[in-house]
């Protein structure tokens, strides 16, 4: 059994999909796991997860972070991606209504703009998506919601375009992304791998821009430095989105396989590693353009 198949085998034997080995079922890890199982040919098991997502979907179309926490709702983006991937692979419309309802919620959800913020370096008036209701727009939720919108063909929707503008505006001058600020009181903040990788994943097929190049260079450098698994997986996804699935990524992958082989790790990390191992074929990426 090769390393990827071994990951899939481990995933397929899990009773719950959580952020930690002993954690409660949560929407983000469940959505990623469903995509892995679908990709690996375990549609029946994936559908159990997808139906669980349906069971926690609110009347307004949103899907909260866990079954007993219907808010925040940023995880609606991931549920939609998983439902849509099911439609692509199976050619069925089992979850089409749920996905549409989720997309409708996404289109109505907005981060709070700030009209006057002279101490902040980013354009605080751009509207993307927030982590929690009634707060500012931040990088990761904006990127995830853009992916969901692109997966259903909303590449040119005004919300998608403004979200892309926001992601570009939040690139640090030297490359990479912070969790969402660029400068505060004139001081440039620190770049981080995970938000950069997620932003680069959502910027797939967007016009070439030197800011994107700088951020990809940052990710390539960080991959070599050996970031922890979750960040490494998102970095690989971001690089693969822009044709930079290089030897460093493949080496990083091998190292990750060896690190997780005998470890008790979360299904969240198992799923992320499986998805990252697919390189340019990662469903988080292919979902965004094949139906565009």
């Amino acid at each position: 059994m090769n390393a990827r198949a071994a990951l899939l085998d481990r995933l397929s034997r899990q009773p719950t999909f959580a952020y930690s080995p002993d954690g409660v079922m949560a929407t983000e890890p469940a959505s990623f796991a469903a995509m892995c199982l679908l990709h690996g040919g375990h549609a029946d098991q994936a559908e159990i997860i997808l139906h669980w997502l349906v069971s926690i979907q609110a009347d307004d179309g949103s899907v909260g972070v866990t079954a007993d926490q219907p808010a925040p709702r940023w995880t609606t983006s991931l549920a939609c991606l998983a439902w849509r991937f099911h439609a692509r692979l199976t050619g069925t419309s089992t979850f089409a209504a749920n996905c549409q309802s989720g997309i409708d919620w996404i289109l109505g959800a907005k981060g709070l703009p700030i009209e006057h913020a002279p101490m902040m370096g980013h354009d605080t008036r751009l509207v993307g998506w927030c982590w929690a209701a009634e707060t500012h727009s931040w990088l990761e939720p904006t990127a995830l919601h853009i992916m969901a919108l692109k997966s259903v063909g909303h590449h040119d929707h005004s919300r998608t375009r403004e979200g892309i503008q926001l992601l570009m505006d939040r690139q640090l001058a030297d490359g990479g992304c912070n969790y969402g600020n660029t400068t505060v009181m004139g001081q440039q903040l620190l770049p981080h791998v995970q938000p950069t990788g997620i932003a680069m994943s959502a910027l797939i097929n967007e016009p070439t821009d030197s800011r994107i190049d700088k951020s990809l260079n940052y990710l390539e450098k960080q991959i070599l430095a050996g970031p922890p698994l979750t960040s490494r997986c998102f970095a690989m996804s971001g690089l693969a989105a822009h044709g930079r699935w290089t030897a460093a990524c493949r080496d990083g992958l091998k190292l990750a396989y060896s690190q997780v082989r005998d470890q008790k790790i979360s299904t969240y990390k198992l799923s992320l590693l499986y998805l990252a191992s697919l390189g340019p074929e990662n469903p988080l990426l292919t979902s965004q353009y094949e139906l565009g």
Binding site: Y179, M185, L190, H192, V193, P228, L229, T230
Partner: protein, 357 residues
């Protein structure tokens, strides 16, 4: 941009919102006990409890401290001076809460040093307590990055200490007792809920929005990102000072051990420069300790909005005469921290001090 406006009002204990300009009704002893203070009371000597009831407190200050020094002895001395009855620790669950907001190997003075955490853990373990280290990093979703960059992960592994990622645990809702913000309540993770004692282990730092951050603001880091976001923008939108006060009002089982050895001045809490102070502070009342830290850093405590608000809410003493000093006197170690050259920060000073742009 966070809401850093001056405090206007807090709710009283009946849940009624006080009108603008009124002082908040202090958390009374009955409410404190109902909220879980009895568990802490069992760990504190009688004089300390009398002090608490009289809105007084004490602070232990040790100078000439180093990360490779005998921190265990210092911390134990501080706990004893503060009235913690060490022989009551057996079997208790202790949660150490360091500051790992956005660790970077290039900026080690941003986060609580691993040596401080391990030393504190050893003191509690030596007295029979079960120790867990927990944090919900405010700016990083990948907590493994925080552990790796800070050096805390390997240190905990070497010491055989368990880490709890508070960002993703199951949560329990608690009513907002102080009502300084308009939030009805707060979600606390399981480890916080179950702990007999939470030890806030902050880094002594300036803060470019609110002046300074120490043991009280550090408790932002027990709130889970899965409910509040990365950053915890829900709290910012409801006012930093208001939510710091509210969170500290519901977390009744707290003491603090402050890493004041290599500190941060200037553009804190993330991008400032290192200022070596060589201090360790210990106290059972977080407001008393933070007020003392403010004085050491060159701030007027009454000008720091969350300190003033917490005093009004009855969370402890802020006036110098109400805070007993153990170890060094704060006056002997006072050394004004550089702050950014902005009016909202300069107004917090006791007198003119160093500025950076």
């Amino acid at each position: 941009m966070p809401n850093t406006t001056s405090p206007q009002s807090c709710r009283d204990q009946t849940g009624k919102q006080a009108t603008s300009g009124q002082q908040p009704t202090p958390i009374n002893r009955r409410a404190w006990l109902a909220a879980g203070g009895t568990a802490l009371a069992s760990l504190l000597a009688a004089p300390v409890l009398r002090d608490m009831a009289a809105m007084r407190g004490s602070v232990f200050i040790a100078r000439n401290q180093r990360y490779d020094g005998n921190l265990q002895q210092t911390i134990q001395d501080g706990l004893v001076a503060g009235g913690v009855t060490l022989n009551q620790l057996r079997g208790k669950q202790i949660l150490l809460k360091p500051n790992l907001v956005e660790p970077s190997r290039a900026i080690p003075h941003m986060t609580t040093h691993p040596a401080m955490i391990v030393a504190a853990a050893e003191v509690f373990r030596r007295h029979g307590a079960e120790v867990q280290v927990g944090e919900a990093p405010g700016h990083l979703r990948d907590t493994d990055v925080a552990l790796q960059e800070s050096g805390v992960g390997p240190a905990l592994q070497d010491a055989g200490l368990e880490f709890a990622d508070l960002n993703y645990q199951q949560v329990v809702w608690h009513r907002n007792l102080a009502g300084c913000s308009t939030l009805r309540g707060f979600y606390l993770p399981q480890s916080v809920q179950e702990a007999d004692l939470i030890v806030s282990m902050p880094k002594m730092k300036t803060h470019h929005w609110i002046g300074m951050t120490a043991s009280m603001k550090n408790l932002y880091g027990v709130l889970p990102g899965i409910k509040y976001g990365w950053p915890k923008n829900v709290l910012h939108h409801h006012g930093i000072s208001e939510t710091v006060t509210d969170i500290n009002a519901i977390l009744t089982k707290t003491i603090t051990i402050v890493d004041g050895i290599d500190c941060m001045e200037g553009d804190g809490p993330i991008m400032g420069s290192c200022k070596t102070m060589g201090l360790v502070l210990v106290g059972t009342n977080l407001l008393a300790v933070d007020g003392t830290l403010a004085r050491i850093m060159g701030f007027e405590p009454q000008h720091i909005a969350y300190l003033k608000m917490s005093q009004s809410a009855g969370l402890g003493p802020l006036r110098q005469r109400h805070i007993r000093q153990h170890g060094e006197s704060w006056r002997d170690v006072m050394d004004a921290f550089k702050i950014l050259n902005h009016d909202h920060l300069k107004s917090l000073r006791t007198s003119s001090g160093p500025l950076v742009s």
